[in-house]
Subunit: 128 residues, 2 copies
Amino acid sequence: MNIGEVAQKTGLPAKTIRYYEDIGLVEPQRGANGYRFFAETDVHNLTFVQRARALGFSVDECRNLLDLYQSLDRASADVKAIARGHLQQIEQKISDLQSMQETLSDLIERCAGDDRPECPILGSLSQS
Amino acid sequence: MNIGEVAQKTGLPAKTIRYYEDIGLVEPQRGANGYRFFAETDVHNLTFVQRARALGFSVDECRNLLDLYQSLDRASADVKAIARGHLQQIEQKISDLQSMQETLSDLIERCAGDDRPECPILGSLSQS
DNA sequence: CTTGACCTTCCTGTTACTGGAACCCTTATG
DNA sequence: CATAAGGGTTCCAGTAACAGGAAGGTCAAG
């Protein structure tokens, strides 16, 4: 398979697939013309990474998950540890964002939003 | 005031303050020795930016908010528009993260986390 | 033979900084 | 007076995860 077809199948942009090769996530063969040639396992691995990325795992975490996936004597505890760490980060982000959201939506509600200059949003940002 | 004192007062690292000067968010004076000299208004503006950043506004949005803050004939509607746009992004992120969280915590629950290789997390990422 | 759709590499830009090197200024101390 | 500590300065590189674009090679069809 050429890169375009793989892009279609995985939903990943060709640019991204080349990048993943650069950083060693996949190692496609090369044809006589220099074109990359992807085997089914390459496509499978790319799909794996794409799903993990969609769950918010960093590329480096994806690499570790992929390594675990490919090692037959893995322990599910190792996978679970990575996932737990990531889940914690997600929950931290959610809570940070929620506190921003609360503050911000409160300020927005209290802002008239007309053509006058008075504004509680600016007031809150500038208050000494 | 020298940059160190400003860093203390605002809580921003000196590096960040220099960066903010680079991109034109503040324009401190310079002393005869080449040191930056910050006036009270500079400190005030930096504090403003620091608070806006804490609410998740991008540096560019901060610049716009600062401009509005400094313009006497501003309309609060313009401020509100920026804040609303940002709030929407925050809410989008929260919802994305929440869906990741749900999927992930479900998978984690179902993973034994022992020394055996079977793992629903990897299974879910690799299922064709 | 040419055209258009692919593919290739390489370089730059993005966001918001952070770390570090190499060097200058000021003040206190032995 | 030399020096050492603790400021400050500039500039360059690196981070994460790609995206955009230029310049050029390849392939199938008409």
